[in-house]
Amino acid sequence: MLARSPQRRSPGPLARAFDRFLLNRAAVAGVGIALPMLLLILSYPLWWAFQPNDIDLLAMNSGPTAKHWFGTDGVGRDVFARVLEGGRISLLVAVASTTLSAIIGFLFGAISALAGRWADAVSMRFVDLVMTLPPVIFLLVLASIAGTGIWPTVLVISLLSWPLLARMIRSRLLELRERDFVMAARGMGAGIGHLLFRHGLPNSIDILVVYATLQIANAILLEAGLSFLGLGIAPPAASWGNMLNAARSTAVLEQYPWQWLFPGTALILAVLAINFIGDGLRDAFDPRAELN
């Protein structure tokens, strides 16, 4: 197999994954969509004339114009500003919940894999239990406990999402635990902390990265779904989900399509782009790709 000559310097595993990622056209397209969106979302207050919560009862339900690119909503707020603000909130929720669930999931999975049979049995039964309940139902119940708003939504989404990661991490670490290089570290006296952070974490980085991207996409969808059911981000704060909630009204659905078309498109586009990126990352990190 690979008998590459040691004379030629070749990049580390992450750099190689990154190279492979760049070869994936869909993934690059995903970046091409996501990056400008991110820029717009982050920078709009600097250059856009309207604030997301500025109401103008005289300019209610106006269609797209040169002044209001995406038109205005039922109280005359600028839809463009709200779509971007909604993006901010959606992303904030998604990133925060993903981070939180990634931490919980990783630690849970790692502990159950490395901290002995009892910890494993108990924590996995717990994961089973959480997973027995269909996610949306759990979400409904959790959301009605936690209430609405950004942080409760973050909490709800993270609490819901970690078990999957915990399982993936656990099985990766169980496998890793038997790998020779980990055995070697144990043979040199490594404790659980060393194993976890020097071996577990770097060797789960692919899982984490892929999980994180796909989970961000997922969290955006969950947030939208929750807000749609009135359990996520409460109006008047903008979120893609609660903007779409407006389309429940036939009047809005039919007569003011810009009020839901734009957030809807933004939502689908963002999720799609992130999914593309996630897919690209998954392929890039695929251990089999290393063989080529």
Binding site: P6, P13, M188
Partner: protein, 317 residues
């Protein structure tokens, strides 16, 4: 001989898989003297790796005792065990699996020092470099990743890693099996050099009797987790006593085109450890098996000075 460095007594290991008990090792006893190289041979699944790892407590033995330089390892606390760790190291079979793909060679080589808290960053690097030099690899390897090296080079890195902690005792688990012949010879020579230069004590695991003969002072022959024969190399190869050892020796294909071709071929397969045969575990494939072999488990007996076998028959040859 003075007191042995390693003394294994009645070592047993079993796994429980889906409710059935697998007896992987039973009643393994042997000693290794200081500076001695003992070979452990047997077919796949005979428990060689399990012995090697149990001895270092990388797997927990089910019962039995392992004394290392007078210290009982099996009952040692985690922290006490950690302090013993640098004295005994392991070399792995698979040069691809045994090096972390996410660490540079430098990180791999200093990992043990770091775990043990030995030296400062600079010292560790120095020791890593000297280990690299010992295995004939260039110093610039230190910043590369394992995937940039060939199998033979990786195996050298694996050996270097074991050396960084200056161990007295090394378990080498089939260190050359995964390598091509031409590379295999390089690594064998290296290991032998190092062993002699550093006065290492070694448990050398292999399924290749030819390799074992070349590097070991004494050989233990294993079959289905039981010791069949233990003897000094010269004696074993010249006068194998156990039918299994003989069969094993005869099964090795010789590259000499003029060699005898009337090999003795064992029938059938190795039984499963889930239901091993009664009595002598080898009897189902043994060309010389008697009815009595099904009875008691044969004990190791000394048939010549330092030469032990676990076979009830003395009338062979």
């Amino acid at each position: 001989m003075s007191a042995p460095l390693l003394s294994v007594r009645d070592l047993s290991k079993h796994y429980t898989s889906r409710g059935t008990r697998l007896n992987i090792l039973q009643g393994i006893s042997f000693d290794i003297g200081k500076g001695e190289v003992v070979g452990l041979v047997g077919e796949s699944g005979s428990g060689k790796t399990t012995i090697g790892r149990s001895v270092l407590r990388l797997v927990e033995p089910s019962s039995g005792s392992v004394r290392f330089d007078g210290t009982e390892l099996t009952t040692l606390s985690a922290s006490a065990l950690r302090r013993q760790r640098p004295r005994m190291q392991y070399i792995f079979q698979d040069p691809f699996a045994s090096l972390s793909p996410r660490m540079t060679i430098g990180e791999i080589l200093t990992e043990g020092l770091k775990i043990q808290g030995i030296g400062c960053v600079g010292d560790r690097l120095d020791r890593a470099l000297s280990a690299l030099a010992q295995v004939d690899l260039p110093a610039e390897a230190i910043n590369r990743y394992a995937h940039e090296f060939s199998g033979g080079q990786r195996q050298r890195i694996g050996i270097a890693r074991a050396l960084t902690l200056s161990p007295e005792f090394i378990v080498a688990d089939e260190p050359v099996s995964a390598l091509d012949v031409s590379i295999q010879a390089q690594v064998i020579n290296l290991l032998r050099d190092l062993q002699q230069r550093l006065g290492l004590t070694m448990l050398f695991i292999s399924h290749d009797l030819a390799v074992v003969e070349y590097i070991c002072d004494r050989v233990i022959v294993l079959y289905l987790g039981r010791t069949m024969e233990i003897a000094p190399s010269a004696d074993l190869y010249a006068r194998p006593q156990h039918p299994y050892t003989r069969a094993l020796l005869s099964a090795i294909p010789s590259p000499d085109p003029d060699a005898r071709r009337d090999r003795q071929i064992l029938k059938g397969d190795i039984p499963s450890p889930a239901n091993p045969p009664s009595g002598c575990v080898f009897r189902t494939r043994c060309p010389s098996a008697l009815e009595a072999c099904a009875g008691a488990v044969p004990q190791l007996r000394e048939v010549a000075p330092g030469h032990f076998k676990a076979c009830i028959r003395d009338d062979l040859d």
